[in-house]
Symmetry: C2
Subunit: 214 residues, 2 copies
């Protein structure tokens, strides 16, 4: 947690600093993100930074936490229908996740990096990854009781597949559809009216029914 001094800062200055710090950690991994660059760009003295944060790691943890909060909030706001089919829910989840990526590309970047690389093997990240797996495992268990997922499927394995595909799908789809970035940010929905929407549904369809001929 940042020091009290940081929260005593004028809202505007604090936000400005956070934006710059976020950009730095989004465009460099932990080791290469530079406090010196951040303070230079934010127009504050290096000493001041250390009156806000104990060290580099604290700033990093704080940014991750902010990102997790924002994403959780994003995924919670329009709660999906209660007794949705599990694959429909999965589709909704993936779709909303991509919308979050579009709305907050930097937050997504830093989160992705944190989960992917063992750069910062803090207990925090292991915990985050584990909870993501648990979440998907519960989803699969629920799908089984619903009867929409084959009871013979290994739950953890299915959770791994869901997690992996959903995590990577957004980046892949974005790399495939060359839409104007400004357009995308202007309205998340436009992305799903594009050819990408079909690819989305196809991915879920594959997880549900496979690629094999039937």
């Amino acid at each position: 947690m940042p020091k009290e001094t940081f929260f005593n800062l004028p809202e505007e200055k604090r936000q400005h600093f956070l934006e710059i710090a976020l950009a730095e950690f989004a465009s460099h991994d932990y080791a290469n993100a530079s406090i010196s660059r951040i303070v230079a760009q934010a127009g504050i003295a290096k000493g001041s930074f250390y009156q806000y944060f104990a060290d580099k790691a604290e700033l990093y943890r704080y940014l991750l936490e902010l990102g997790a909060q924002q994403k959780a909030q994003f995924l919670a706001t329009p709660p999906p229908e209660a007794d949705m089919d599990i694959f429909a829910y999965l589709a909704w989840l993936a779709q909303t996740g991509v919308q979050f990526e579009l709305a907050h590309p930097q937050l997504s970047q830093i989160g992705y990096r944190a989960v992917k690389s063992g750069d910062v093997p803090s207990e925090l990240m292991q915990q985050a990854r584990a909870s993501a797996y648990t979440f998907f495992a519960q989803l699969v268990a629920q799908g089984k009781t619903q009867g929409s997922i084959d009871a013979q499927i290994d739950e953890e394995l299915a959770a791994f597949i869901f997690h992996t595909i959903i995590t990577e799908l957004g980046g892949y789809l974005l790399s495939r559809v060359e839409e104007n970035a400004a357009d995308r940010l202007a309205d998340g929905r436009s992305f799903f009216d594009s050819p990408a929407a079909d690819l989305f549904n196809q991915t879920i369809h594959i997880l549900q029914f496979g690629m094999g001929t039937r």
Copy 2:
């Protein structure tokens, strides 16, 4: 390519150096891998290193190239049956890939890091990634003509899914089965006599038939 001086080195010394360099790049990402540490550990002077390689990037590229060669050779040696079913071939591919990971964990680590993180966005890596995608896309096309893959499936999307799952599956399975590392290295087959073998088949089965109830 290393300088000629490097290849004039006694075989033993060159191998020793490569082992140490490999360990360094396997345990640190590109930015944090240290030439100073490598030369200290290898017992050579820093200046000597720069008589072998033009710079850090050249060593890195060389290690990647060596790794790619070894993996290609590994995957080529026991060529699978010619007219294998596409999913059977996929299973063989994933299995053999994991065996390679077990046999050369450091090479796998450095390759994985290179593909995953945008750390070194050299044209070399983009090319490697693209060719991997192309490979899987061709596999899917072949599966379609074979009749084992649904003709309506988007080929590139299927390639993405294959590539993603296969890339991540090894690490996941290894994290699930807590086998003695020495045992694993001693005999690659033992891994597939373990519970992991079932998870393997299940993964391929899911890609072929999906998780949904039928």
